[in-house]
Amino acid sequence: MIAIAALLLVALGQGGWRSIEPPLSVAFPRDHGAHLDVRTEWWYLTGEVEAADGAQFGWQVTIFRQGLDPSAPGPHASSLRARHALAAHVALVDVKSGRLRHVERLRRLGDGLAWASEVDLDVGLDDASIRRDPAGALRVAAGALEAGFALELTLEPAKPLVMHGASGVSQKGPERGNASAYASITRWQVRGTLKLDGASRDVRGEAWFDHEWGTSQLGAGVIGWDWTGLRLDDGRELMLYRLRNADGSASPFSAGTLVLADGSSRHLNAADFEFAPTGTWRSPATQALYPVRWRIAVPSAGIAGELAARSDACEIDGRASTGTVYWEGPARLDGAAPGSGYLELSGYATSMAARF
């Protein structure tokens, strides 16, 4: 979902980039691929897996694309011209120990080591890649040698694709262009291999996939967001995001989606749900105060409970490469409709304003 695509991302202006505006016309599998005419795009996978010995891990493989230059290349331009940047964030959380491992990759699109198909989902850079096979399964590979782990996962879809927002357009601000196209497949069955500190183990679990693209998403005054994607035990999924103003209040453009067990979905407006912080964790590294416990309620769907991080120390410091610091980790919802998924908290250590 909305993540962090901060990637050196300064306000480039919208000149030349296509804005996402309704009505949106999408066609898959083409729209699983890259949309090089819009400025920002990401493919976001989060999940939880369990090894045969019972060890549980949260994992994240995200590939961001940031458009740098929308103009047509000149006749004598090098194909290495940096027109788009790709970045990957790969993270693994050992739920028991609470240890987070994380690596980043960054390259220019099109140099042979960073690629993004425009006809289907086939995107990657260096040793991180997400590929969709013709049957719809995802092949996810992510190396993180310097962090001591590597993932080789196959994801089989357990739910159909969902377009978030009204008419498939996720409106995030008052301006007509403050929007993104936001597609998800909210539940996948995961199997594969996790190599950890030299040992290889088979893992199984579930995952969530977001693909979002847009040019100018955030409205004025928004400095960050809180997001969660939860797979409920009853077969439903819930996605909520709370766009946060500088004064801490929630933007009226905060929204969500409820996906029913049969795959049908319902758009949720800000008034349809409660997503409020109840407890915090302070990062010893950045001193940022993250709300890692939340009260969640969607009264119309019978959902109410406490969402809590399964490990507090999930701050990802990307200042050396992407310039952003955010929190991303597995979380558990307890209450009337329990479930689990991922929680993302941005804009607490560094403002996301002007980046999206």
Partner: protein, 852 residues
Amino acid sequence: MILRALFLRPIRRAPLRFLVTVVGVAAGVAAVVATLASSRAAVAALQEGVAELSGRAVLEVRAPGGLADSVLGDLVPLAHAAILVPIVEEVALSPRTRTPVRLFGVDAFVDASVRGVAPAFAARAGNEDDDHFLEFVRGDGAWIGAGLARDLSLERGGTLELDVRARPVALRVLGVLPSGRGAAFDHLVLVDVALAQELVGRIGRLDRIEIVPRVAGADLDELRERALALVPRGAAVVAPAQRGADARGLVRSLEFNLTALSGISLFVGAVLVATTLATSVVQRARTLALLRSLGASAGQVRVAILVEAGTIGVLGGVAGTALGFVGARTLLPQMRATVATVLPAAPQSAIRFAWDHAATGVLLGVAVALLAAWLPVVEGARTPPIQALRGEAPARLSQRERRIALGVAGFFALMAVELVQLPAWDGLPVAALLGTLCCLGVLFAVLGPAVDALGALAGRVSRLPVSLRLACAALASGRRRAAWAAGAVGVAVTLSISIAAMVHSFRQTVIAWSDQSLRADFTIRPLTTRDGLPIGRLDPEVLAVAERVVGAQALDPYHAVEALHAGESVTVTAADFGLAARRGGPQLTDRTDPLAAIARAHAARGALVNEAFARRFDVEQGDRIRLEVGGHALERRIEGVFRDYGDSRGIVTIERDDFLSYFPNDAPRQVSVHLLDDADRAALRTALESALAARFQVEVLSNVELRTQVLSVFDRTFAITTALQGVSALVAVIAVLSVLYALVAERRADLATIAAVGGDRLQLAAVVVGQAAGLGLLGAATGALTGVVVGVILVSVVNVQSFGWTIDFHQPWRLLATTVGGVVLACAVAGLLPARATDPRRLADALREEAA
């Protein structure tokens, strides 16, 4: 007591003599240290530059002619273990300073973790570095080295003007790299890799791909093996340091030969020490004899002389080392210019004090002084007690001694003949240079009999003025000292004559080669540096513009790329064999008709190779060679071996169409223009210049101008040898002075007797000046003969073994005569100084002392 009598007291009495000897050793040591330090600074900068610019990269993929940038994609399977970094590099010209600068194309997306070139590249939220990063990766301009910024008074926002591929380019200065990153960064122009490709006209090509392990302690062999399995044929996976070693290899022979030449200065210094000590021993024969009578053993006398020699060595070594580091600063620009003829834009590092060079200097000083003390030690220990000394008189060499001396000379001559026939040792002409030392051995061995002969001759020629006869007799009676002094002069003259012969021969050969090979009416090439070196290549558009002015049939572009033969780097060039057949080809080493060889190569897609290639790989006409170039394998038959003095690694020339089928986008280094006989050359030159000047930074040289430039680069390359000749000459003059002072002191009684019987000051001075001139004549004559022989060895053996090309021997006879005359004159003039000691009044005192 012995030390005080033999060492300290003489120093107190004649501090100047001691000082002069120390200075002589110091001068020799200084020459060696200066050469070592300056060549290290110039050459080691190449390696340091590679290390600095490579950052954390431990391996790199490279291939002759570069790599397609698609190779990056082939390396995806390696990306989990290593960061892969594309590099494009080119030498450009800064037109304002006329100096070469290195245009370095990097990928800032991954570069921060490799080189950390600009900390500003690490984009940080909310700070302006984001802008810096984006404008860099978008190719909006360049970051430049601190030295370049200083030289051009540039800062962020300024405009950097460059000539790249002979095209003027203006780059916005996005930032100045922090200073203190090393010499390699000081004059760097850092641009985005894509911009670099566009600027240098190598779209789709990379110079190399660096491999930076993601974790420390990675298994490099495994990484190399895995990379090798992924890269195209002909590409190598090697450590970056290999590039530095390759660069150093290009100038290795040059460095070695310069150090060897500087060593000759040290040899002259050794002769000086020997002369001084021998003189001192003979001078103090009475003291030695007295000490022996009082019970001093021969061993004690030896120790005393060795202590004196050691002291001279230590002092001379220390002073020489200090002088050497100072002198290195003077030599460095010349050394850099020499290196730049092979590798332009090499980083410029300053002279740095190096303990190993300092130790080498001091040890050399001591070793040379102790070695030189060997004969004086033998002489001193042989000094009989005073009773036996009485009545001892100078004597001519006995028949046996003369035979021994000539036998030693013969032995050295035979050794020299044997040594110069041995092959190079590890590519270096070590044996041949030892052979030249043997020639110097011959010189010394014959000098004793020669001095004797001079004395005998003077005795027989009755018409000689009395002063000259006395001078010759004095020299003969002080034969050993005279021989040493003449030897010092002889070594200096040998050095001077032989180097002059080598340089002159090379120059004459280059002139002859130019006549044969440089036939174009005009040559179009990129603008040159201050040192006259053309930088970079020509934009292919230059060819199109020239075609419009003079027609395509008149143009002969010169293309060159790097290739591998038998795993070694060589150069592949292109020639229009059809045009060459009409215009005349290069001179072949076997003196056969070049046109026939060109016709064969034209007909059968063959190749011509230069002499250096043929020697390096031991191939000849008719052999087949296989080259790896740009991912292709070329197999060609050698149709001829041509003379060439531009590339000692080896050149293979193939037909231009053949070449362009492999390198369709290669930019030529220069373009030769061949006009019809009746063409209006002046008008066409003006037309060419005005058509090109609007868009390109090129120069159009006439045939004469090009040849003049070639010779001027040649002269600059050999300028450094002049400095070495100068040092040797200085040491030799010091040796002559030292001996003359000693002889005057020793012959004071004789001179006083002459004064007592009516000799005036002029006559006395004539005796001394005559001795000096005699020494000079002996040294110069034997030195000239030896110099000619050593010159032949340098030209025919050392040069061939070092560079692989043949040069014809040309002795500059006029220079030889001038040198001999000049040396004799210089020695005679030098004799005026000790002649001042022949004041009759002071001599009278001496006579009184003698009588007492």
